[in-house]
């Protein structure tokens, strides 16, 4: 499983320049927002938590269809399915590799983008904490969506339609954590709920995703 993890990580970083695209997308979304809503720093700092979370979510969405597509095309997914490790473990490792390769950089640069959007000083630590806690759920849910659509020729758009409604709870609690942190309110409840959603998805969704892959490989 660790070998699979490092292989996926290496593929994500080396192959085809896909690495960093999500990061660039996150930057561009954040830069575009002030053009859309105007440069008043008051408005920007109000909407900053939501914009940063939505930006992270969309950048995460961009790379989802790559999770299984390449392995499905060249047949390595069949090999992984017949390998001695359980398919649920494969799915979990795929999600983990996706998180480390594409989402973790987003978490790390988010304070800089928060600076661009004039986030309240108290919000920075909560921004990083909430993203670090919540985005593994995004990767896991996305992996499930990718498993559902892996057999489809043009699954990209369908994938977003399927996955985005599933992101709603994570987004709500994530953005709420940052908002409360920025306003200096207690953040305990949304943070705990966010962590709960992440742990719940990590525990349960690998089974659903593995079931979907087995169906798609039939």
């Amino acid at each position: 499983m660790i070998a699979l993890f490092t292989r996926d990580l290496a593929l994500a970083i080396r192959a085809g320049g896909g690495f960093g695209l999500g990061l660039a997308f996150f930057l561009i979304v954040t830069v575009l927002v002030p053009f859309g809503v105007g440069p008043e720093s008051g408005i920007l700092s109000t909407i900053a938590p939501g914009i940063l979370w939505i930006g992270a979510l969309l950048s995460c969405l961009l790379s989802l269809d790559r999770i299984f597509a390449l392995d499905f095309e060249d047949g390595s997914l069949d090999l992984l399915a017949t390998a001695p490790i359980p398919l649920e473990g494969v799915v979990l490792m795929k999600a983990a590799a996706h998180w480390v390769a594409t989402v973790l950089p987003l978490v790390l640069v988010s304070p800089v983008l928060g600076l661009l959007l004039n986030l309240e000083p108290a919000g920075y630590s909560w921004l990083v904490i909430s993203l670090a806690l919540g985005t593994p759920a995004l990767s896991m849910i996305g992996t499930f969506g990718a498993a559902l659509t892996v057999g489809l020729k043009r699954g990209g758009l369908l994938l977003s339609l399927l996955v985005l409604p599933l992101y709603v709870p994570t987004l709500i609690f994530g953005a709420e954590t940052v908002k409360r942190g920025a306003d200096g309110l207690a953040t305990g409840t949304p943070t705990l709920m966010l962590a709960g959603i992440t742990l719940g998805t990590l525990a349960l969704l690998p089974f659903a995703a593995a079931a979907a892959i087995r169906v798609n490989l039939r």
């Binding site: 659509t149 339609l161 399927l162 709603v168 709870p169 709420e176 659903a208 039939r218």
Partner: protein, 243 residues
């Protein structure tokens, strides 16, 4: 040996629904006509809301069925997943567009009702938001059915999606509650309708709800029959090609 599973046989299902459907259709029309005519023409106007109160006869039953249709799809998906009865998968497929339409009816009548009462067509109230999310879930479910060619694979994948989606729909419902309390204080916009409905409005409302339940059952049976026929047609075409 009368068990509910005998209706999993498409043959048996077609036979029994052929017998039942006419009665169901008549009952549906009767209940809907009674409820709606009673509600629209023979109930007084509300002293505060005027005649807009009559939207209740469409809004509440549609909203009720929008949720129950998803629940029915969940049960049908579970049955397909565990016991692999094709009728069950087809019934789930048949129910989805109906449920989506009910959600849309609830949203639209709600907007029309909200305009005169709240002064706005739309507010990010927990209930309204939950229904919008439910609508998106229906969209995704139907889109996944439409995207996959092999019927068995489509049935499997959509049933997995329905089960996961149910969990997330429930989660969203409570998450949205939380989110809204964080923004507005108090529920000044949400009407807790059923508790403060007087008997004059309540009885026709019950008839309307019964009518919508019957309508849903009738439509699901009809559409499931269509799906079974479509499946048979495909089999015939495939057989002809082989010969």
């Amino acid at each position: 040996m009368a068990s509910i599973w005998q209706y999993a046989n498409p043959q048996k299902f077609m036979q029994s629904t052929t017998a039942v459907l006419p009665y169901l259709a008549v009952l549906t029309v009767a209940a809907l006509a009674t409820g709606l005519i009673w509600g629209f023409f023979f109930t007084p106007d509300d002293y505060k809301q005027g005649s807009t109160v009559k939207i209740i006869y469409l809004h509440v039953p549609a909203a009720l069925m929008a949720i129950n249709a998803w629940f029915m799809m969940l049960v049908a998906s579970l049955i397909w997943f565990v016991r692999r009865h094709h009728v069950s998968a087809l019934a789930a497929k048949a129910a989805a567009p109906i449920g989506m339409t009910m959600t849309l009816i609830a949203l639209i009548t709600g907007a029309l009702w909200g305009q005169p009462m709240w002064g706005t067509y739309w507010a990010w109230d927990p209930r309204l938001t939950t229904f919008l999310i439910l609508f998106l879930f229906y969209l995704g479910y139907i889109a996944l059915w439409a995207a996959i060619e092999s019927p068995d694979i489509a049935a499997d994948l959509t049933s997995v999606l329905c089960m996961v989606g149910s969990v997330f729909a429930l989660l969203s419902r409570y998450a949205v509650n939380f989110w809204n309390q964080g923004l507005h204080q108090g529920a000044s916009l949400s009407l807790d309708k059923e508790e403060n409905v007087a008997d004059v409005f309540y009885l026709p409302l019950l008839v309307c709800i019964a009518g919508f339940v019957l309508l849903f059952i009738t439509l699901v049976l009809l559409r499931t029959r269509t799906e079974i026929r479509a499946r048979r047609l495909q089999a015939l075409i495939a057989r002809e090609r082989m010969a």
